[in-house]
Amino acid sequence: MQGFLKKQELFLRKPLNVWSRLCLVLAAVCLGASFFFPLWEIRLVAPQYRDGLELYIYSYQLQAGNDGQHLDEINLLNHYIGMQPIREADFVEMTWIPFAFGIFILLSLRGVVFGRMGNVVDLFVLFAYFGLFSMGNFYYRLYSYGHNLDPRAPMTIEPFTPVLFGKNRIANFTQFSYPDTGSYFLMAFGLLILVAGVLSLREKPIVPEEAV
């Protein structure tokens, strides 16, 4: 047991070489870039909406096709089944996600300056947690929209969960839901952190002198 802890401590003390640090810089850039692109795209296609109604979910805002008109149209159609209108103001996570991104960027840069394997591990674990939490949160939102239906609505349908990833058929609409450019930047962020760790695996741990 003692040996394992020792080994682990030594591992976390491994220095990050220049390539790893470069990866961390790149990761920070990717995360920054993800801010400018939608993370997710939801598209609803029906015979009379051949080009589809488009929703773009950013880390901090909700955008819709045709200057936002598509969101109005989606809400208008959803009122027939009693779904709550989708409003940007209801997405509280859009206020804290940019803050979280800022922290991740700072943590990446911290890794660049401090240059320890431990920084990479912290970053990766936190980011994985953040990612899983966000996806869960997203799923829960979709679940809520599809399950809190007004019983007085013109049309009664079985409660449903709009699909998070992939495509699904709801009445006359086919819903497509896929990650968009922003998500690829986030994936690149995660990947670059992993690579940063891997590239410095063979470095010798820096051990304080008294421990020698």
Binding site: Q69, D72, E73, L76, P154
Partner: protein, 628 residues
């Protein structure tokens, strides 16, 4: 069993052979290759595909403009102009009611597209009303009437309209039925020659807004002014008019106005007319500056034209002006250069009321023997002219000057092709014929008599419109369509020249009573007048219960808050004679006098959604005696 030899040709040879045909699909690129395709292939536009051109037909005394597509000839939409049109809610809301005024119909003859630098600019379509002497402006951004000018003073039968100048400075007009002026002046028709007058009108168009106003009129003898065209290039600043009844007959015109061998057309220098007004050389009659051409030399010259002419058309170069006489089997070609020279040399054969008559032989380039009943001429921009012949039921294709001496000696030789049309063609149209650059690929013949051309529909038969391919050496009949009464003339516009909107952007709505949120819907009473601010959206009206009292004047301001193409909502009130249409993003006002007590349902007349049928409301009108 017979032996079938295998083809020696590799399979890709026929494949390659189709390439030039595929390459010829672009509208501008149609050449003789088109001739290899069958008429069905040429005019077939598959479901979901688009036509290449708009065809704006005049709807004659229906008071409408019909819009069709070329080459399919499918009728796409009707633009109501001078007539109530419940299908589009036209003439029921406060704005369109005021546009229409007191008249219930109009007689649209000649649509004209606005031009910039001698080319269609896709901004407006102007149409005339031959009956009530009006001109309307349709905005091609939303295909709706924005303005109706008139009745134009001193004009009775604004037939020679609406022909626009190179930069849409003016729309030309002419009085078809001369009358004493100003209107309201009494004279017996027997005093026709002395007491009646004709006028030619220049209608000014504001270059930014398109707003129309009567700029000036030129006083003429009581001829019947018929058709017009405007100059370009060398003839820039001029307009040309035909007339019949140079005899100045006032009764039995079919005989009495057909006695002379030649009628008098007019060449009008509209820049000189403009200058005369600026210089104060006019008399104001009924609010319009009227120029007497005898007093202001250089404004107008008469031009002898073969008996009973109709069209007077300037070619794309602006050098040749063609006018045929319906009772003379020729199309007369006038040279603008010669007209200028004759004016310069004062080479006049006569004068009428102080206006010089140009010497016929001096200004004429030649008379082309096209056939019987030449009525109207169009141009393809490749040096060819196409003249409709009412009596022969044909279109003649012939070559414009310059002609060789040999050809001049026998002008029959410049007539290169003829095609039968069915039957009794009036006008014909080639896209862009009145511009510097005609499209030159399609011709539409508008025929007056369709007898025997369609499955029977009772005595009120439609007219035929026939699409003719003019890209080859020989004209070819491609397609026939039927049109309600009554296309006189048409304009063709390349589809990609305009990009009309399909919703009114909310940001552009300037209606003072527009509302966008249910929270703003309200009913406001001010004495006996009630204003209802209402929203229409799938599938409800807000509010949908309107309480008023007998004797109230109620104005419904309805905003369609939709921004989705096609989501027009209707507003119909039974037994109150209201049929409104509110397009997406539009606000319309409907003023209704609540004369009768009772309960009046209103409903959406335009099928909008699965719950369209449920989109309804009630106006409950409390009887006057029950009111406190």
């Amino acid at each position: 069993m017979r032996f079938v030899p295998k083809s020696r040709f590799p399979r890709w040879i026929p494949l390659l052979a189709t390439l030039p045909i595929l390459g010829a699909c672009a509208p501008d690129d149609v050449t003789r290759d088109n001739d290899r395709r069958s008429p069905a292939e040429l005019s077939y536009v598959a479901p979901g595909d688009f036509d290449d051109y708009y065809l704006f037909y005049s709807g004659g005394h229906s008071g409408n403009v019909f819009v069709a597509g070329i080459p399919s000839m499918r009728h796409i939409v009707t633009i109501p102009v001078f007539t109530k049109y419940p299908g589009k809610g036209y003439g029921y809301d406060d704005v369109t009611k005021e546009l229409l005024g007191d008249y219930t119909w109009g007689d649209i003859h000649h649509p004209a597209l606005s031009k910039t630098d001698g080319l269609y600019d896709g901004r407006w379509l102007f149409v005339n009303d031959n009956a009530h002497n009006r001109v309307a402006r349709i905005d091609l951004r939303d295909f709706k009437v924005k303005e109706i000018l008139g009745p134009i003073p001193n004009t009775s039968g604004n037939h020679g309209s609406s022909f626009v100048t190179e930069n849409t400075e003016y729309i030309m007009g002419g009085t078809r039925f001369s009358a004493p002026i100003p209107k309201g002046t009494y004279a017996h028709p027997e005093e026709y020659e002395d007491a009646f007058n004709g006028v030619i009108t220049g209608i000014r168009v504001d270059p930014d807004t398109g707003d129309m106003s009567v700029g000036w009129q030129v006083l003429t003898p009581p001829f019947n002014w018929d058709l017009s065209s405007t100059g370009k290039g060398p003839s820039s600043g001029w307009a040309f008019f035909t007339s019949y009844n140079t005899e100045m007959a006032h009764t039995v015109l079919e005989a009495n106005a057909s006695q002379l061998d030649r009628d008098l057309g007019a060449a009008v220098n509209w820049r000189a007319a403009e200058q005369a007004v600026a210089d104060g050389n006019y008399t104001e009659i009924d609010g319009v500056p009227v120029i007497d051409p005898a007093e202001v030399p250089g404004v107008m010259y008469f031009l002898p034209i073969a008996k009973s002419p109709h069209g007077m058309d300037t070619d794309p170069s602006g050098q040749w002006i063609v006018a045929g006489g319906k009772l003379d089997p020729t199309a007369g070609v006038y040279s603008f250069e010669k007209i200028q020279a004759a004016i310069e040399a004062e080479d006049f054969e006569d004068e009428k009321r102080g206006v010089p008559v140009l010497n016929f032989d001096s200004v004429l380039e030649g008379q082309v023997p096209v056939g019987l009943g030449p009525l109207h001429t169009q141009f393809d921009g490749r040096g060819n002219a196409y003249t409709s012949m009412f009596i022969d039921s044909q279109v003649a294709k012939w070559r414009l000057p310059p002609w060789s001496d040999e050809e001049k000696a026998d002008l029959e030789s410049v007539v290169v092709d003829k095609i039968d049309v069915h039957y009794n063609i009036g006008h014909l149209v080639v896209g862009g014929s009145d511009t510097r650059e005609p499209y030159g690929n399609w011709l539409v013949a508008m025929n007056k008599h369709a007898v025997g051309r369609h499955i029977k529909v009772g005595p009120g038969i439609p007219e035929t419109s026939q699409l003719i391919d003019i890209t080859g050496d020989e004209m070819r009949m491609v397609k026939e369509a039927f049109t309600d009464k009554e296309p006189h003339f048409a304009q063709i516009l390349r589809a990609d020249k305009i990009d009309p909107i399909e919703v009114y952007p909310r940001a552009e709505n300037e209606h003072p009573h527009a509302i966008w949120s249910f929270d703003d819907a309200e009913i406001v009473r001010n004495g006996d007048s009630v204003e209802v601010k209402m929203i229409s959206i799938r599938s409800r009206f807000v509010p949908d219960i309107v309480d008023v009292r007998q004797g109230d004047t109620v104005t419904f301001h309805i905003t369609n808050t939709e921004q989705t193409p096609g989501l027009t909502h209707g507003f119909g009130i039974g037994e109150m004679d209201i049929s409104g249409n509110i397009d997406p993003g539009e606000t319309k006002s409907f003023t209704v006098e609540m004369d009768k007590p009772g309960v009046f349902p209103f409903y959406c007349t335009v099928f909008c959604s699965a719950l369209h049928q449920e989109m309804q409301g009630y106006i409950s009108v409390r009887p006057a005696e029950e009111t406190e």
